[in-house]
Structure formats: C-alpha cells, structure tokens
Amino acid sequence: METAIQTSPIFWTIIIGYFVLILGFGSYFAKYNKTTSDFFFSGRRFSWWLITMSIVATGVGSHSFLKYSSKAFEHGFSSTMTYLNDWFFMPFFLFGWLPIVYYTRVKSIPDYFQKRFGSNVRILATIALLLYMIGYIAIGFLTMGKTLEPLLGWDLYTIIGVVAVIAGIYITFGGQTAVIFTDLAQGFILIFAGILIFIMGINFIGGFDIFWNSLPPDFKLPLAHFNQPPDFNFVGIFWQDGVAGSVGFLFMNQGLIMRFMATKSVHEGRKAAAFNVLFLLPISTIVVSNAGWIGKSISILTPEKWDAAIKLDHVFTYVASLITTSEVLFAFMIAAVAAALMSTVDTLINAVAAVVINDIYKPIVKDKDDKHYLKAAMIISAVTTVIGAGSVVFFASFPTLYQAHGFFHSTLTPPLVVAIFLGIFWKRYTTAAAISTFIGGAILIFIGGHYPATFIAPFDHGITMDIGHPYSYIRALYNTLACISVGVIVTFFTKSKTDAEIAGLTTWTLETARELFKGSKPNDRDGEKVKVSYKLIDSEPSELRFSQKAMELMAAEVGDLVYISDNRWWLGGLKSVHSTYGTPHNDEGVVYMTQDLWESGMFDERKLLLAEKEM
C-alpha cells in the first residue's frame, strides 16, 4: 500500500499563493488585448529570447515531470531520448513551415489548408487539430490530478475541476500576451526547480560519484534497448516521438505556431527555435527526468528509505518529498509542476480559441466588429477549459501517463502531419490527395488498430506485441506510412494546382511569400540598428519617417518594412510596433511618428527607441 505524503498549512499557503500570483500576473496583461490579433498573436512583436523561454514552459508540460520521472526510474537515462531527437526536422521547420506560416499571415493551421487546398480540407484539418489539442489539454489536467492525488486525498476529478477553474480564468482574460509572460516566469521556475531537485538529490545520496557508481551501465545508456520491452523500446519511441511527436509538436501544435508568429521576424523565430532545441531541451530533459534517476539510486543504496509500493506516476512527487529538507522547498517543487501544467494548458486553450474563432465562428458569424470576436474568443477559451477537463476520462485508463501520451501521439498526429508535410514540400500534392490522407489515412489507422498482428506487425522491428496495448509506439510508423501512401497514390491520379494558385504556400515559392508579405520586392541588404527619439506628427498614411542618414545606416528604402521598439532590451519587444519607411527628413536622431503608431507601440514618453529594417 502506497504511503500518503503528509503536508501542513505552510505547504498549502505556498501552493495557493503561487496560483494567486499567476492569476494576478496573467490578468494584468489583459490590458494588452485590444484586438483579436493581440489576443492570439500579441501583435508579432517579441524578441527571440522571450519566446524561447516561454516555449520551454510550453514544451515541458506537467505530464513531462511525471511521465519522464516514472520512465527514468524504470529505464534510466534513456528517458532523455524524446528530448534529444528533435534536430532532424529543423531544416524543414526553419526554412519551410516557419517562414510559410509567418509570411502568409495565416491565422491558424486550418487557415493554411484553406489557402493551399480549399474549404473541405480546412474542415477536416480543423476537426483533427481540435481533437489533438483538446486531447493534449486533457492529458495536462490528468497529470495535475495525479500529482495532487497523493497529497490531497481528494477524488481525481474534483482536483481537475479546481485546477481547470484557475487555469481558465487567466487565459480567458489574458490572451496570448498573458500566456507568453506567465510562461516566461513559469519556464524559469520549472527549470530552477528541476535543477534544485537534482542538486538536492545528489546531496541526499552523498555525492555525484556515489550516485554514478550506484547505477548499472545498462541504466546509464542514453538510448533504450533497440526493441525491448514492448512498453519502452528505442525504435518504437523513435517513430512515435522522434518522428510523429517531433513533427506534431513543431508543425501542428497550433499553440507553438502562434508563439513563433508572435516573434518580431522570421529570423527571430528561427533563433528561438534553434536555441530551444540546441540548449534548452538538453537542460529540460535533466529537469524532468532526474527525480527518477535519483529515486533509483536511493532505492539501490538505501532500500529501507524507499517505499517499494509507490506507483510509477507518483515517483516525482515521492522523490521530491523524500529529498527536500523543508516543506517550503517541497511546496516550491509541487508549484513547479503546477507551473508546467498551466504553461502547457494555457497555450493550448488559447490556440483552440484561435482555431474555433478563425475556422468555425468567423465563417459562420460574418461582418461583426473585432470587439465581438474578442469577446467570443474569451468565451470559447472558457468553454475549451471545461471540455478539456471533461475529456480526461478517455486517458485515465492507461497504466501510465507515458503510454497514454504515446498512444495519443501515434494515433492522432499522422494524418495531419502528413498532410502538412506533403502540402509544404511537394508542389504536386493535390486537394483530393489531402482529403484522402485525412479520411483514407484515418480508416487505415482504424483498421491497423483493430488488426495489429496483420497490419502493424510487418513494421514492428522485432518488438513483441503486448495484447493489452498492442504496439503503443511503433504503430506511429505504420500510421505515418499508411497516410503517406494514400496521399502519394491519390496525387498521381488527380490534377494538381498550378504554380500561380499555390504561390507562396510551398517551400518552393518562399520568395513569392516574402514579396506578398511585404507588398514589393524584399530589400535584403544588411543594415544597422539605429537609436532615435520620437516626434509625433499628423500624416497619412501612417508610417515612420527617419533622417536620410538613419535610412542609410539601416540600408533602408522608402516602402521597406521597419520594426521599432523601446530601447530597453529586457522588455523583449513588449512595447514595439511594425510599420513602413516614409520619405526621409533631415532631423538627425529623431523619428516622426503618427499618434496611432505611438499608441499601438505602447511607448513611454522620453524613452529612446530602437529601429531596424525588417525587409
């Protein structure tokens, strides 16, 4: 029987204090939501470092702490596999999908499908995407329930209800800006907490040498056994996570896409993505896994201190309670898991609202003013929170969160991922083929799921079939190949669109996308950034006018795109605005700006501004 973890009022004061702080922080940013563009995309204004840190918080979901700690305890350092296999798709993302979504100004992933294939494919993509995101939200809530279960002793669904109310409030009112800034704070909190657990765990054990030498070589290998056991093997996880999961996260996670669209330029988006994968993911994997490694070492060195009856999904909570010397620190670590939950769920709830507004509501309820859509977006955010919490029931039956998540990724992502991928990188891919990928792919996935010994076994790489949950991971390979086959075969028998019809919508026509984004030929000459003060003027059209010398320094010409921000770097672009260059003047060190641009940039009086040419 698992031992209950004892807590006192101090613990609960800290946890409640954290939630109040996050609620206040998120609600503060409601003032930055003047339009639906602000609510969903934060006006495309932020620096790469702010976005990359908030991406960490989104990527490291609360499920990460629990599921990776449990797998780390069972299988060792190979729990890091899923965080260290994302680079293979970076060329496709950085120079394919990211610039396409940015330059085509799509408002959602289904919006891209509308432009590339038409309304039928948009509807299918909307259904697939909403299922994916609501499932993801449900797993987040389930995790939070499982984290708090051993502490509270309440019913799982009561805990989920309480957490859902808190998450719903600040997302409903705060929008994307609230999400970015709370995620920034929560990203720091969860990384700090994870590293703190590692340091305290090593200290508890008696030093790194004792920790390292206590573990067998098999446990310390960074990659799992090639094809054993069925519930955790390298090749299955490579296809489920390294391929379906990585592509799913990078290409069809509407929340993540919206985050990149909030960067001030494509170049900044690339920097955010690359820095995240190269440096923050290796740190994050230690953050989410190390409780399991520490727990294993403790169970080997001092078995009398380890409760052998502990459930795998409770390893994180148990290790945190065991190694912390004070209740304050323990409360901080549990708050970090809460931070991870909130930061993943808030992003997805905001993303679901964006999809529902842009792909369902606006096509039905047309010609309303932006305030109407903003209000609708807030109501949809609240409703999504309720639906996400209610969907927990579908995932609660899996033995561990890791398997629930793996099954979810393997089954739901392939049709949408394949349709996006072929749509971006293969000009010949047709509308009929995209529809077939969704419908035919889903049918083949369904058949494969019912007859795994016939359909999935040929791809199993020697993995033994677990009758209870057959091929939880390697099914991703069959599902992906099934969707690709349908898409490719149908493409060869149907008529593709002309180059003109898909201009700017594939990686083969990115230059056209840039030209359409700017409205004229892009100016790629390298220029410098220029510091200026501002002077308000009345003029039409609304544009920024610099001195001739400043224009030369920035290598800019009239009509080019310019980005101007508050000179204080640590604001990360919160106070900034995009515009175009107007005719130059001779007033050195000053930019002439219209009142509407000044208000849109939310600039402070007497603060210097920093201007740079965008393209």
């Binding site: 293979f88 970076m90 060329p91 120079f95 394919g96 610039p99 990659l223 990188f425 990686t507 083969w508």
Partner: protein, 76 residues
C-alpha cells in the same frame, strides 16, 4: 572495458545510436537537400550562410553528445 559492457548485447548498446543517426540522418539530409534545392535557404545571404552552418552543427552536436554519453555509460 569492464565485464558488464561485454554482457550487454549490441541491440542494447550501439544499435540504437546507429539507427538514430542513420535513419534520422536520412531525414535531416533530405531536409537540407530540399531547402537548398527550393532556394528557401539562400547562401548568397550572410544570415542564411550562418543558418546553414548552424543546421549542420546541430546534427553533429547531438551525434557527438549521444556518442559521448553511450561511451561514458559503458566505460566509466
């Protein structure tokens, strides 16, 4: 090399590493080929030349990291 290393089968030690950077490498280099062929990465631009180098660096950075961690687990 210690005794435990000898006891571990190839499928447990280096096979996953070779599969990861073999199959993963095929995906990565197809991606590099497509963005180069499609001219979405334009090597006449300084920033794009830097990105080209960063993309290759990332692949070998992870390959080196996994090689080091596997070697350390088996030998240290």
């Amino acid at each position: 090399m210690n005794e435990t290393t000898i006891a571990l089968p190839f499928l447990r030690t280096w096979a996953p590493f070779l599969y990861l950077y073999g199959v993963g490498g095929i995906i990565f280099f197809i991606g590099m080929f497509i963005i180069f062929k499609a001219k979405s990465i334009n090597l006449s631009l300084k920033k794009h030349r830097q990105w080209f180098a960063i993309l290759f660096f990332g692949y070998f950075y992870y390959l080196g990291m996994h090689f080091f961690l596997t070697y350390a687990a088996l030998n240290w």
